[in-house]
Symmetry: C2
């Protein structure tokens, strides 16, 4: 498919490049041309006709083309637990409500529930997800079938999966095409024995690969780790050689200066999940501190059972707003910084360097933001509007790998939304009655 | 206009009435019938044909009809300052950026900028606003022309308006029809002399009327009031007899137990503005404390210069989420409580008892929430979904006073959105160049 997107405001998210008016051309899965009006006039052939046979020519009507959001931490299949166990603290929520329900999931359930999440990602302009779940294969199938770009990370713990299975998945899912990749990881320090963690560290060394895990989400987790090992999770895991080849931590709410040193030394990524941290009363992450120490921050929605929605606009506002109130400083963590976290920093954390910006040669993962809506007016400061007043309702189009998967409220993911809703409701009813 | 809304899930927000399936009938500006399927079958005439000539029969397709949201604190016309002065603390933001710009506004500007805000309210299912601004007349005109229900409250302070003007407005705007009403108020303790405050208190006594004001928004405000009068704002204002007939405080972030006693004794309403309090780094209001003391809480967006969007879904999530993290208790301030704050408690704070619930005889202020979207699925817990995962994109229709003003992305407010956008951008450009 060759797609010409014209009459657009363009925010490439390349460093120091301001918004300009122009066109983006897509050939099959890649961006082949990004140009402002002047470049266009210089580049076009004398007749002024593009040199490509277009399948689609989309008039962007002066709206904003930008890279899609990178949701750097989620558990997509947990859609079935949305609003099922609200208003509970993390520990009780996880052990009494979530784990027992998850034990009843089949791979077919996970496939279907992930497709429901993909629908929502698309409505929020999310073009890549970093997904941790118990059956990565079912998640991968759902993403390949719908067209979502997905980085898998295993939910390995003492009860689920094994280092052998993780290694097998690592090899398999890193060679099945550009939409899917796989990073090493495990659920969390508190659900894994030291022996298991050493095995994961062994995998990291064998494959010279980064490792990702839940880290310092609650104060209790940090305390318990201290009681067990005399160290915080970051320091303890690092002492096992876990982060020799990088990686990152999901949540990172309760971090000591020593933890931050580990992150800086090992070039680890913080992946913050502010809505989930509020809803489970886990705390407010020290984003301004990370920024000060040049620790890269990406943003994730976390799973829909703890958030409960999959909306990067909500997360962006929260990253900025919560930092300001935490530091008692309205000037800290600006809109510009937050937008970078939600896009290029996310791509870096997920090792998606080929779909991070709107640049010639990159995969065409982009979204069209409707500026002709009241919450985007006046057009004084578009980046400010995106972060502070943007909403799902502004997403007019979501394109992944050159394919338009969502446009003006309709989906092209190989299945009708109603069909997916029906199946997910059937799954939920079955689980509730089991 | 006679409108039949059928095939709906209905949440009337009457106490203890769960969601049911049925119909709502509207005749001119009022609800004339709310019935579940059983009542319908019993009530309908033998031929099964409704006894009203319908102008519109709307198939709600199983979606949710509920009362519109009550935005209990805003400054609508500040749309022109959206993303103009982000990332600044309240004091600097107000004195260096906002006040100088506001001084340049004409009544025509305020009219146009308020219409822009109305567009956004409608997209978020907001059917009533409690609007404080320097020229209430221009706001009222904009609301009457667009069809928005508006409770005006004056921004009276040492530099703007006067007690005489407020009294004149109070009389005028309380007799101009059901869409507009007017409550006594002033900007804040810190912008009014004691003499002026005593005059406002005098007005309250003369009209036996409640009084509303910004209160305890920042720690500094409270400190400075203490330095001036040896009392917190709530205690000081109460000592002037200000709240003899009730009223309420906007923000109420930094409240002492004594302040809360004043609120309980005087039956004052707290109107919380969580997004604004984050963005200006003002703090997190003690909502769970208010709830414990049976102080009624309503929710406002605050103005678009400090939020920056006018979205009740964002505010609802924040009221719940911030309370949980503040109290370190994920169980506090449930979705059910928050939804009541955003609807019936708002109506009570604004004295809009005739448009608070979906009940026969009440004004038809209601919204249709799209449940056929991924963020509302599965349908396990609709109230949980509304508060924790709802979004502007779920608002399919907004009706005020029996009129459909917004439906499926289109507006019926007597003017095209593009026209309003253009004018507002012209106003902004003029102000920036002055």
């Amino acid at each position: 498919m060759n797609v010409r997107l014209y009459n657009a405001k363009i925010l490439t998210m390349e460093k120091h490049r301001p918004i300009f008016e122009g066109e983006v051309w897509v050939k099959n899965e890649k961006i082949v041309y990004v140009a402002d009006q002047k470049e266009l006039e210089a580049d076009w052939n004398p007749a002024g006709v593009p040199r490509i046979n277009w399948d689609i020519q989309l008039d962007c009507e002066g709206n904003l083309l930008m890279p899609g959001f990178k949701n750097a931490h989620t558990h997509s299949a947990m859609t079935f637990l949305r609003s099922y166990a609200d208003d509970l603290p993390l520990d009780q929520w996880l052990k009494e409500k979530i784990f027992p329900m998850e034990a009843r999931l089949t791979p077919e359930d996970i496939y279907e529930l992930t497709r429901l999440a993909v629908l929502e990602y698309l409505t929020s302009g999310i073009t890549s997800i970093f997904d941790m779940y118990v059956n990565p294969g079912a998640v991968a199938e759902a993403c390949m079938d719908t067209g979502m770009r997905c980085v898998l990370v295993p939910g390995l713990n003492d009860f689920v999966s094994s280092p052998e299975q993780v290694e097998e998945e690592y090899v398999r899912w890193n060679k099945c095409g550009p939409l899917i990749s796989y990073q090493l990881g495990f659920h969390a320090e508190y659900t894994c024995s030291k022996e298991l963690l050493c095995q994961v560290s062994g995998l990291a060394h064998r494959h010279r690969a980064p490792v990702y895990t839940h880290m310092a989400e609650t104060a209790r987790e940090v305390e318990e780790c201290r009681a067990r090992y005399g160290m915080t999770p970051a320091v303890f895991l690092d002492s096992l050689g876990m982060f020799e080849f990088g990686g990152g931590g999901f949540h990172c709410v309760h971090m000591t200066p020593e933890d931050m040193n580990v992150f800086r030394m090992r070039r680890l990524h913080v992946i913050t999940n502010p809505a989930s941290n509020l809803k489970l009363a886990s705390g407010i992450a020290p984003i301004a501190e990370f920024e000060k120490r040049k620790i890269p921050v990406a943003i994730g929605t976390d799973g829909p059972a703890s958030n409960n929605c999959l909306d990067m606009f909500r997360e962006m506002f929260l990253v900025a707003g919560l930092s300001k109130v935490r530091e008692q400083n309205a000037a800290c963590v600006s809109a510009e910084r937050v937008l970078r976290m939600a896009t290029v920093h996310g791509a870096k954390a997920m090792r998606l360097g080929r779909s991070d910006t709107l640049t010639k040669g990159k995969y065409a993962d982009m979204i069209l933001i409707d500026l002709h809506q009241p919450n985007m007016q006046p057009l004084n400061n578009i980046v400010g509007n995106l972060v502070y007043s943007g909403s799902k309702s502004n997403v007019r189009m979501t394109m992944i790998q050159g394919k338009i998967l969502y446009k003006d409220g309709s989906f092209w993911i190989g299945e009708s939304p109603e069909h997916i809703y029906r199946r997910c409701n059937v799954i939920l009813q079955r689980m509730l009655s089991e």
